[in-house]
Symmetry: D2
Subunit: 485 residues, 4 copies
């Protein structure tokens, strides 16, 4: 098995080094990889049950008490050493097995999204009206990652691999970005490579950077007055907020096409007949890189003073948190890609395809069902669009290999009831198991091939350059009980 990986050959679009995969298409099966797949199959009922529990808990950012406990308890029951409440976050934990080098980490998220509660049916039907739901598939996310770690544990138990596997229970990915405080606490300092995955509508190595972002809130403090009797004695915090958002919208002409600014007016007064003395807006700035982001962030922050002067009120700008785009590791991704090709695509029953088509019908998408082919690894765009993840920050601290696995039909609008529905039934369960397999197979590569770990690290160092990572969080504890909820 020498020389599986050739030296780095070149650059793709000025960005990523392509780590070549094995030359032969149909290699003979790797027994360790066969074994981790079997481990996942063995625990499938347990994992499914755990996922369905978390699906039912419907717990949002920093409130994932039952979900974190369920995962922690399961890890403990498997023999993992679990440390709960890490990073000053009650629902963050680390579950470790084995010892010594390499230390391979794997990330697991488990928070839900507000307002998306849904039954396991292919049309919009809230389970608990107004409650949260797993519209991002995180009920599957944490479980699959832990399942992958468990498969590695089995090999360690059998003495077939050496080292440490560490599962990170990472809360609050949808809001606040819990990993930032886990990084700040040094929890990633001794890890060699980290893996993660994400539920998706397709299966592939995830090699796009996504967007860096920063969240901050602006508060305005005016003077209340009776809106009819003496509005001239009032200084309106709502006026300031509206003029601030107005300023932001004028500023849109002067931002680059890759930048996004969005905001959420959270409080612009409480009653109709009083000039409001308080208002609050949550602002998010994104760009395809933190480097592009920062000057825009500084501008939008500075504008708060302008709005405050216009409305003659006081103001306060508070950083909530900010995350990096992903530092894509194409070397690691290439290893993952190979395993995807080995595994092949997920196959579905007719019932699952019907369910998928009904979802597609209900959301106005082409009714093509579930399409889970393994395409060649994508190029990494210089400016990718789309979402953001706090895995970005992990990727700037440790080399990170990322997977997307299908848990919902093609075209499904993400963060919607449809993701909740599919993630609560067999389509989601299959994706979860697939992810656990692909992740553990790639971890086998990492444990067994020190050259791969070195190459992944070299790729990381090359693209990091002399950039010095700094987490963008305010001093003090994480915003566990924030008015921002």
């Amino acid at each position: 098995m020498r020389k599986i990986y050739l030296p780095i050959l070149g650059m793709v679009l000025g960005f990523g080094a392509v780590f070549p995969v094995q030359a032969q298409k149909k290699s003979k099966p790797d027994p360790l990889k066969e074994e981790v797949q079997a481990s996942v199959d063995k625990r499938f009922a347990e994992l499914t049950n755990l996922s369905d529990q978390i699906w039912s808990f419907e717990e949002i950012a920093f409130q994932e008490t039952q979900s974190a406990a369920a995962l922690s308890d399961y890890a403990e029951s498997l023999g993992f050493k679990v440390t709960r409440g890490v990073g000053e976050i009650p629902t963050a934990f680390v579950a470790e097995y084995g010892s010594g080098k390499p230390v391979i980490g794997i990330l697991g998220e488990f928070d839900a999204l507000p307002g998306l509660s849904q039954n396991k049916v292919p049309f919009k039907s809230p389970l608990h009206e107004g409650s949260p739901g797993h519209g991002c598939g995180h009920n599957l996310f944490g479980v699959a990652s832990l399942g992958a770690a468990a498969s590695i544990k089995d090999l360690i138990d059998e003495g077939k691999i050496q080292g440490t596997v560490r599962f990170y229970g990472t809360p609050a990915e949808e809001k606040f970005f819990g990993k930032l405080w886990m990084i700040r606490a040094g929890l990633f300092d001794d890890v060699d490579v980290v893996m993660d995955w994400h539920p998706a509508a397709e299966t592939k190595a995830a090699v796009q950077k996504g967007l860096a972002l920063v969240d901050f809130q602006v508060e305005f403090f005016g003077q209340a007055a009776h809106a009819a009797a003496d509005p001239w004695n009032g200084r309106s915090a709502s006026d300031a907020l509206e003029l601030y958002s107005n300023g932001i919208n004028y500023y849109r002409e002067h931002i680059k096409p890759t930048v996004r600014i969005h905001y959420h007016i959270q409080d612009a007064g409480q009653v109709v007949n009083v000039v409001p003395d308080y208002s609050r807006i949550w602002v998010r700035v994104r760009d395809s890189s933190r480097e592009g982001l920062m000057p825009v962030y500084e501008r939008v922050k500075a504008m708060a003073e302008g709005a405050a002067i216009l409305a003659n009120v006081d103001y306060k700008v508070s950083l909530i948190s900010g995350i990096h785009e992903v530092l894509v590791n194409r070397t690691g991704s290439a290893a993952l890609q190979k395993n995807l090709e080995t595994l092949g695509a997920i196959s579905y029953t007719e019932e699952e395809q019907d369910f998928a088509k009904k979802i597609q019908e209900a959301t106005g998408k082409p009714q093509i069902g579930l399409v889970s082919v393994i395409e060649p690894m994508e190029e990494t765009a210089e400016h990718s669009m789309g979402g953001s993840t706090d895995v970005g920050d992990v990727s700037y601290v440790v080399p990170t290999i990322r997977l997307s696995a299908t848990t919902a039909p093609n075209g499904t609008p993400w963060h919607s009831w449809a993701v909740v529905a599919a993630g609560g039934m067999s389509i989601g369960h299959k994706g979860m198991a697939y992810a656990a397999k692909a992740l553990s197979m790639t971890m086998v590569d990492l444990f067994k091939n020190p050259e791969l770990v070195e190459a992944v690290k070299a790729d990381f160092k090359e693209h990091l350059g002399d950039y010095v990572y700094e987490g963008m969080v305010p001093d003090g504890p994480p915003p566990l009980k924030s008015n921002l909820q």
Copy 2:
């Protein structure tokens, strides 16, 4: 007692007819008026207890279940015939005693205000953090009016007066304006004269019109989209709302000085990373008369379409409710004024004055304590400023005589913790008893002097002219469980 009242003499500032008071300053005491005062004193402990209960219930508009029950039960215990749940409002009721003409009504409010819970101490100190409080003194309002009705009942029992006294338990004065539905239900159709009072920082006949107003909500319906991935597929309901409020603010240049427009942004999206598909704003327009109000209301409603077009969204404008300014009855007010002069001002203990001064200190007002003198009756301004009341609508249906009685120190900011504090202790209790006496004395005048009732009615008719009252409420039931709460 013939000829106590002279014919209407003239106009004051083109508005109100002055009904002359008795010529002699010190007339000999009227035994019936002495008796109603004694009745109030007799029931003082009961009334105070009832007021303190309602103070503790802290129930806001349309949710005054316990408060309405307490008042209804007390009225029933006194022998009144009580009809509960009138006007399609569970907490509205009528308590009647006696029979035949005249029918003299008296209004009692009892709803609290959100967020004003406060202990009975002269500094800000919430009793139940975030809970409502009686910042408008309505715990005293309903009780004093019922106490006045009870005093009249005593005279009816004794055969000293003839006719019907009717107490109206009128909920939701602070929001939604419950009296509108009670009027719509015909509950005021057979009344001759109505009296009411309001807790205040001074004692006087209330002869200002206040402001007419209308409340309506505008909703915008857009298209959600991921704010970073494809904002061009979104049509923002928040944009529409912001452009709407922007339009309102530009319109301010073009409204008359008596007009007020205020709004409350209630919902402009729920999360930061989605183009919001829904927004809602509560708008209130006021003017010194409904006549002035209507064209402004029409304009501000019409602007919703403009904002919707600008943001390419749909919209819906819904009337909440609207009330008239008060049709002041100076003839009736003059009769009330006479009784105030007979009663004289409330006297306070040193402790009460200390309490008052501490409140004045805490609210940055001159520490002059409680000043409760009886000044000559004010002129009625053509354009009065200040607040609004749904008594305005009653005053357009029945001649209405209104009292202000001191229940809080001079200068107290209304709708504040300070009103709650003073209204929960002896300062409030004294004002309540004073109001009960002044109201029942004036009802004695009305029951005993048919000429006064006729003069009050003539004044009403003269100022009403050919105006045809129409209540401004949407069809259907009152908004008992509205999202507007």
Copy 3:
């Protein structure tokens, strides 16, 4: 003639002292007053010709070269000592006759308004398309005042009165307010009483204060960029201006009903495809008094910084000029009123009434013709609405008596073509002659009755109190060649 004037009797509406007029309604004719009337009649053709010339010159603020020369030359031809170019303004001048005390001043304006050129016909018909026109009747204003001064000169020549009459040729009343620089130059320091008048649609002593105002401009300085190729390199001065005006419109909720803010966007960029690096807005703030004005002025100035911060540009705020409301002198006005009553109203021919009615028809007003009755002197309102005049500043430096005389039909929209038309034909000429008579008659009072002068001064001092006049102009010369033109 003893005791013509009684002591000051009282206050009217808390403001002005009423100086009582002669008790008897029909006093015997005053020969000096008869004589000044005759003098005006004697010069009627000359004055009319002079007025028509100025009407034809159509010269706007600070550009009244021919108009000032015509008036100066005429004064010189009458023997007045003329000083031209006073107050650093080429078109300002002083024409003086006589010597010693008292010094009675009389003001004459002569500037036109842009865009109002009109033929002498009762329907809109521009004489020179796009040219200025005398839409405020100032062609009559300067001439009548000079005619009045000439009548006084005749009496001085004859030795019938003693003292000095001084005509002030005051340019730029419509814009920039030329009198401010004439006051700054000390030209009013030695005057006892000043008179002026204004063309109007009615005849009366002018006893309303009008509005104080301040004019200033705000300039924003950004960074130009190609609006399509790299708008992100631009910082838009137009954005700043728009956000500034937006801020002003939000601020409207928080100004008192007497305050007015208006603005004129003068420059918001020059071409469509460039992010503008320069913008300019002219802002005017008014209130019923300078005292009320100043805090609003400070706020609106301060807002410029806020807008500049929002748009990330530089800014500059420059005072243009500001004027006081009028310090009404009711004592002097009462003397004037007496003379109006003596003179009686102007009478008109059928042709003039037809002309007036056609104007009223063309401007949508009731066709009641010219109504020139002499009503009793008005009360002085605490907050008057309407326009502003730089006579306000003169009135804060010298006691000032003001007349309105009819030169246009009732209801005529001021600053319109209709005023130009009427002011160029016999309706205007009659008003001019009437004003010259009423002014010179009142000047006779002032020259002959030192007690009246003292009473007028006492009234002035009483209402001025300890207010220290300060003219609101920037340092340096007046804005003769401003970009503000």
Copy 4:
């Protein structure tokens, strides 16, 4: 010379067909191409003189009377048949020579830009303060194209080529886009291929599409009122305009990254003390294609109604004109590229390089002088950024081959004084002569190789597809005397 052109080989980035150039790098000189170069050299003094004249005329869009006459006269003097005043535009003309097929057109622009008058010195120094200047190098543009046509004429005269050469004198490229009306008049209906060039800071075949755009104006019509006395009787056209631009700025969040919207506030009122009854804004929408442009255009037009409703005014939207992005013809461009490689880059004297460096210094650019290398032909980006040209519309009607030739130093900000300066001296003259040579050499190819013409036409047809060209101009004559000037 058989087989010079190989068959079309493939697609570049999904867009253009590459027409291969001659295989051998150093071919033997083509005598006809040598001759056209000599023709340009022969007329260099005349052409330079003509260019300098047009430079001095400084005539802007639709006012290029002298410039058009100078070019027309020169063409006539050479024997061209000139038709003046074509397309309903007095300054548009066609100059034709020869007869029969093929008909090869060549475009010449000659309008200047407002406010850019400049001396021929390397620092900002206006020749006529406030006057226009040739900041886009069009003084060179028309002359070089006519020079190229003249060289072809010489060959026709000598019988060395057959067919028709036609010079189009195309005014108003900077504003209004004169070619639109020339196309509408059918002037391009019988042409086979069109060539044009543009002054630039580099020399290359121009193969980017630029941006499609549309210009329109929105007018608002309100009701004037005195801004202090009765603003409530006014309906402000300026309010509408401001709310409209506000709406546009909110809309920016919802446009694709390739879209640009810019506007120029042209009139928002004329005086400070009147509620404005008229306002006007010029709006430009651009996108990388007309297809992308149209829905945005429709939206921004529709928004005018929204703003009008918000401000309660009337409105009118008027199309000014709109142009297509360029339909790039890579087949023709490849032929041009070959000639550029044959010609080589322009060489400059030390004085010219010094001049260039001083310009670079004055405009804050790297002082690298003039860099005129011939790079390989660029790929055609799917979405190009930058400017727009009405050649776009010609390119949708006739196959069009475009050249950029150096007439200003690298990095020069376009539409600036620096372009005027360089275009008026030898740097510009050299670029002009170079362009004339490259264009006439390529025309030689077109006249002599029917296969090339066919290939160019095939490329055109392939990329046009079934798109039916429609010029975006309002009915009626071009806006020769528009208030838009």
